[in-house]
């Protein structure tokens, strides 16, 4: 058969049963992405005879003799399609993984369809942007600003990889063809708790193309945690690569490696596993009872399934409640949700001719992944190289080492390259999730609203393994309580093992869950007292000079590098009363209300976090910047370039950046805990300043002008009256053996604080329970904006993610512990139509601690959104909805019965 792909003739026979997506990728069309493989996400969109279709649902045969256009064929003679240019001008992407498909759909829209984007873009999901920048692109708006020497910081500069993203040339983890690579597939447990008695491989081994089968008997019997942190001791070593006990439906049972994915999958089906079913427990409260089945036998029977408990008290809540005029107590809960980064987990491992191991992966922490691989396989660090290229989103989900280990195992055993890409279903049943938490909040206050006591009790369901269980619980009991000044605070939290898919790190990291509870409770208490919710918060919020504490007396390293919470509340209050936003729909069934919530964030984790950066002046007068930090759509490669350019008085475009590579960049703990700017950014700042000193020092010696009279000016240096190009300076230095290089490290202490306040005005249809968000406004105190467009984009994206969490997303677990909606078809992340455009405001602050005045902001924006929506709903209906998600049936049910 002949195919015409992007104007090129291909003669080929697709495999039996092959879809167009994999067929195109076999011929190098890596711009055709896999997000779901089920016609839900649109990442694989291509044109068939000019009409966009999901290539994952199109049999390859159907394209024979027809004209196929992928993202790579959209530009004509090197001139970008106007839609590609529009996406660049508006920077309508963050991780860029959905972009190819999004552009293929957008570029096909006629004038009428452009008028109706909510319908026209139903078939394309983006998890990063919140769709605002995509809307900008489709309206021809330009967001990027000029790259002016010396003014890089504070400018909305574009992502250096933008041109390759909009043309489909950016290579994400699986977008390479590794010669001779074998494919790995995993058999996953159908049981929530079982002991593996026997695995018969006979039939599976007979499948043609099978190269190896690995079970618990084939792996190093070494405990570890899949969670990645600088200090591995903060997570429990409770996991084996493959185990003879499975503790949740979806846990790995065996890995099969074969010549094709289909053969590996077929062999998985043919593995005959005999299980001894063990009693299982799914509810964390039941799991804490003495007679509950125990998941992890650690020889400490008293603890049972409680992985960790955290308790603390300052003052005396007993006295606080005794002195209160009003007490509010209620239990709030949040649902289990999945990160849903559009690029699934995946990695590729191979050995080079010297026997050295290389692992290409989709990780937020390649350096820690390397450490864990060295631990598991007892390898020397020098023999292992782990790296990332482009990464399609993370949101905390890739703060795990969960695909690399099996690829390495198979490569070490078989000697050939091995690759493994998670399916979308595996993301839901075999990766990590946001911890489900149930939080009882008890608040006491004086008649005037002054808080007298805060008492919080949290049960966190950490699932079958405890990675991030302790740290998220600590975060849950941290900032949401620190945000309020109150003499008497107490908190008690339990992270409990159950037989369901494990929790993990997820944007907001535990604080999101209790912020929902505490901010809801603050509103409920304010209503009881007849106090305005803004006034209630202003009265009690933490202020500079306050001793910042949650429920632990020990001194912390957190301090006010700046403070803008007061500004944030003003900005949101003004916006909500401005009359902006949409009108409520007509009809007496629609009720409107407003709500507000605040969140506070310590910038960076309490545990160690380190970054290193390396800079050099290159022979062509440009700069080299190597930074260990991962870019996954968070914008750090862009902002790091800007920081370096700013220090070196040049344009960002003069800085060539590489990142996240254990061979080519200095050590970095990982991109998580909102550290991309405040730790890695600080390392860049320090390295750039060191290189500046190095250059000025040499230039001074070279020209004889004192350093005080030398300064950089874009790609030139001025020394007194003399001006020379950096190219010439490099030559002069090189001639005498001078090295224009600098390397610096950054470590995070003390830490500063950031704030986010969110306001919502919504309408709810009291009959159907339908919610319409009429106005959404966030004010953020994140210090100086290194890249205003990106800062806004991060907040837009966090708001959209929060709207999904609040209104539609929920991993449903059935009586047997299985996730019953492991697909975007029935696990609904927001589409274009589901996300209102938000107003985003910034407090005018400049931080004394963060690099160049900036603070963290990747995560915290998500935290106040859910409670703001719930508070607005309570304001509209008079009914408190205390459990996420706020789905129409739950609302309808309560409103029709409580009415």
């Amino acid at each position: 058969m002949t195919y015409l792909v992007d104007g090129k003739q291909i003669s080929a026979e697709p495999h039996a049963g092959q879809c167009l997506r994999t067929f195109l990728r076999d011929f190098g069309s890596f711009g055709v992405k896999k997000g779901c493989d089920g016609g839900d996400c649109g990442a694989c969109t291509v044109w068939l005879d000019g009409v966009p279709v999901h290539s994952c649902l199109t049999p390859a045969f159907r394209a024979a003799g027809r004209e196929v256009t992928t993202i790579a064929g959209l530009a004509v003679d090197g001139v970008l399609h106007p839609m590609q240019q529009a996406f660049l001008d508006a920077q309508a992407f963050q991780c860029g993984f959905c972009t190819a498909g999004m552009i293929m759909t957008a570029a096909s829209l006629d004038a009428e369809r452009l008028q109706d984007l909510p319908h026209s873009l139903k078939g394309n999901l983006c998890r990063c942007t919140g769709y605002r920048s995509i809307n900008d692109a489709l309206h021809g708006r330009t967001s990027v600003e000029a790259d002016v020497a010396g003014r890089a910081c504070g400018a909305s500069l574009p992502n250096p990889f933008g041109p390759s993203i909009v043309t489909g040339q950016a290579h994400y983890t699986m977008d390479v063809a590794v010669e001779g690579a074998l494919h790995l597939k995993v058999l996953r447990s159908p049981h929530a708790h079982a002991r593996i008695v026997a695995i018969d491989r006979q039939k599976a081994l007979a499948v043609p193309g099978v190269a190896g089968i690995f079970t618990w008997e084939d792996v190093p019997r070494r405990l570890y945690s899949t969670a990645t942190h600088e200090d591995h001791l903060v997570d429990p070593d409770d996991t084996y690569m493959l185990d003879n006990v499975v503790r949740f439906v979806g846990q790995r049972v065996a890995a099969v490696v074969a010549e094709t994915e289909a053969a590996a999958e077929a062999a998985c089906h043919l593995l005959d596993v005999t299980y001894e079913i063990l009693p299982a427990v799914f509810d964390p409260v039941t799991a804490m009872e003495p007679d509950a089945p125990v998941l992890h036998d650690k020889g400490d029977a008293a603890r049972g399934n409680i992985y960790v408990d955290i308790k603390g008290e300052v003052g005396s809540v007993l006295e606080g409640f005794a002195g209160a005029d009003a007490v509010h107590e209620m239990t709030y809960s949040t649902s289990r949700v999945q990160h849903s980064h559009l690029e699934t987990h995946g990695s590729i491992a191979w050995k080079d001719e010297t026997g050295r191991l290389h692992v290409r992966t989709s990780s937020q922490a390649p350096f820690i992944a390397k450490q864990k691989l060295c631990h598991l396989f007892q390898m020397s660090p020098r023999d292992v190289h782990v790296f990332c290229e482009r990464i399609g989103g993370g949101f905390g989900g890739k703060q795990e080492m969960i695909s690399e280990d099996l690829c390495v195992l198979a490569t070490l055993k078989i000697g050939r390259p091995v690759q493994w890409e998670f399916t979308r279903e595996e993301q839901f049943i075999g990766a990590t999730t946001r911890h489900q938490m149930t939080t009882r909040v008890k608040l006491g206050a004086k008649r005037d609203g002054t808080l007298t006591a805060i008492d919080v009790h949290v049960v966190s369901n950490t699932g079958a393994y405890g990675g991030h269980g302790g740290e998220t619980l600590a975060a849950a009991l941290g900032n949401p309580l620190t945000a309020y000044r109150c003499k008497n605070k107490r908190a008690e939290g339990y992270a409990v093992y159950t037989n369901i898919v494990p929790g993990g790190g997820f944007r907001g990291y535990g604080a999101s869950q209790t912020t929902f509870a505490i901010e809801s409770a603050m509103d409920d208490l304010a209503r009881t007292l007849g106090i305005d919710p803004f006034a209630m918060r202003r009265l009690n919020m933490v202020r500079p000079g306050d001793w910042m504490e949650s429920v632990w007396k020990d001194p912390s390293d957190v301090t006010f590098g700046s403070y803008g919470l007061d500004q944030c509340l003003d900005l949101v209050e003004d916006a909500l009363s401005s009359g902006r936003g949409a009108e409520p729909p007509a009809g007496e069934n629609w009720q409107s209300g407003t709500g507000v919530a605040l969140a506070m964030l310590d910038c960076g984790p309490p545990t160690e976090h380190r970054s290193g950066a390396e800079m050099a002046l290159l022979p062509d007068g440009r700069y080299h910047l190597a930074i260990g930090s991962t870019e996954m759509g968070n914008g750090s490669v862009t902002s790091h370039r800007q920081i370096a350019a700013s220090v070196l008085s040049t344009r960002a475009d003069q800085v060539a950046i590489i990142n996240a590579d254990t061979d080519l960049t200095p050590y970095d703990t990982g991109t998580f805990a909102s550290t991309g700017t405040v730790v890695a950014g600080r390392a860049v700042d320090a390295a750039a300043n060191a290189l500046l000193d190095n250059i000025l020092d040499f230039a001074s010696r070279h020209t004889g002008a004192p350093t005080s009279e030398c300064h950089l000016d874009d790609d030139e240096i001025v020394c007194g009256n003399r001006r020379m190009s950096l190219q010439d300076l490099w030559k002069a230095g090189h001639a005498v053996g001078h090295r224009f290089e600098a390397k610096r490290k950054a470590y995070l202490s003390p830490r500063t604080v950031a704030f986010n306040v969110h306001g919502i005005r919504l309408a709810v249809e009291k009959v159907t329970g339908e919610i319409r968000i009429l106005q959404s406004v966030q004010a953020a105190d994140i210090g100086r904006l290194i890249n205003p467009m990106q800062c806004r984009g991060q907040i837009d994206g966090a708001i959209a993610m929060a709207i999904g969490w609040t209104l539609t997303e929920n991993m449903m677990i059935d009586d047997h512990g299985a996730v019953i909606n492991p697909a975007f078809r029935n696990y609904r992340i927001p589409a274009f139509a589901d996300v209102p455009e938000s107003e985003v405001h910034f407090a005018d602050t400049y931080d004394a601690i963060g690099p160049l005045g900036a603070k963290s902001q990747g995560e915290s924006a998500i935290n106040p959104v859910a409670p703001a929506i719930a508070n607005a709903l309570a304001n509209a209906t008079g009914v408190r909805f205390a459990h996420l998600p706020l789905t129409p049936d739950r609302i309808f049910d309560r409103l029709s019965h409580d009415a």
Binding site: G17, G38, V53, H54, L57, T58, D815, A818, A831
Partner: protein, 337 residues
């Protein structure tokens, strides 16, 4: 996906010959027809459907994808794509319920691919049907039981259910066809026949795996509607968990012949609530010959859901269905054209 062989046919007679062992699309049938492929490929990837041969009927597009509106009557070829029908000016103007039901369904890419014939035959979204790791599903494995009865069933049916199956019929377009009293042209080994659309689907009863009255090898060639001027007063109201892309949790298709405030004729179909596309003659009877006001609309809604039965998580649905129908009727009454 399991390997399969692929055959392309270029005539209706060749198609029905090739498909004569398709066994009415049963999951275990070795042959399946491929039109848009959006249901078939999806279910094959999930390993729910495992055909050995796929018969591609897309070459019949030349004869079976017409959209004809002549002297008020409509003929829609079975291979017409959802997107083309939804955008057709005469359909949008004179039969808004059709255009709305198609436009509110799926995504642009899917509508570009999916055919009308395949659309009405799409399979349920019941989780237990779509996930082969569940042992119990009478649709997949006759006699194996129904995991949804006691399972997660918030979105499951409350009308037309049996003790063997409560899976919801997921489509939107079928309700529009019911509200316009459409007929279906069918070609088969034993010749052509035409049936009322309402006779196409069958309730699960004792045999949930039998979903339609199509015989082995038969294919739908067209849908026909005997048009009436009053069909301009028709609409499709879809309630779902979110605005963008979601199957109906409740929907109503209404076509109303209203003169001087009196209902001369009305046809009502209900979606998201039943195991099959659901026509409610009970509700129609309450309204026919009467003035349409809110009270009367409520009585009609009561009648429509008199036999509804919730089980566990979907107990809220009858009430939601009633409110949806009331809103659809009152909105239809106020349409101006």
């Amino acid at each position: 996906m399991r390997p399969f062989s692929y055959q392309r046919v270029d005539s209706v007679s060749a198609a029905v010959q090739a498909g004569r062992i398709d066994a009415n699309g049963h999951l275990d049938a070795p042959v399946q027809f491929l039109a848009g492929g959006t249901t078939l490929l999806d279910l094959m990837k999930l390993d729910v459907m495992r055909p050995q041969r796929i018969v591609d009927i897309n070459p019949l597009e030349t004869s079976l994808s017409d959209i004809a509106v002549e002297s008020g009557d409509v003929r829609l070829g079975a291979l017409a794509r959802m997107s083309d029908v939804a955008d057709h000016p005469a359909i949008r103007k004179d039969f808004p319920v059709i255009a709305q039901s198609l436009k509110l369904a799926a995504s642009a890419q899917l509508r570009n691919m999916a055919s009308l014939g395949g659309n009405v035959l799409q399979r349920t979204r019941c989780t237990y049907f779509r996930d082969v790791s569940w042992a119990s599903c009478n649709k997949r494995i006759p006699g194996s039981g129904c995991a949804a009865l006691e399972g997660v069933n918030r979105k499951h049916a409350v009308l037309g259910t049996s003790e063997n199956c409560i899976a919801t019929y997921p489509g939107d377009f079928a309700q529009a066809l019911l509200a316009l009293d459409a007929t279906v042209d069918i070609a088969g080994v034993q010749g052509d026949r035409t049936i009322a659309f309402r006779d196409l689907h069958v309730k699960p009863g004792e045999t949930p795996h039998v979903e339609t009255t199509l015989l082995p090898g038969e294919i739908i060639t067209a849908f026909r509607i005997a048009g009436e001027p009053w069909m301009k007063r028709s609409l499709y109201l879809k309630i779902r968990d979110r605005e963008s892309y979601e199957f109906a949790i409740a929907s109503a298709a209404v076509a109303l012949d209203l003169q001087d405030g009196i209902v001369r004729q009305v046809r009502i179909a209900i979606g998201g609530m039943a195991t099959v596309p659901w026509r409610s003659e009970e509700a129609e009877a309450v309204l026919t010959g009467k003035p349409l006001d809110e009270e009367r609309a409520r009585q009609a809604a009561q009648a429509a859901f008199a036999a509804a039965r919730g089980r566990g998580e979907n107990a809220f649905k009858p009430e939601l269905g009633r409110e949806t129908l009331v809103r659809a009727l009152l909105e239809a009454a106020t349409l101006e054209f």
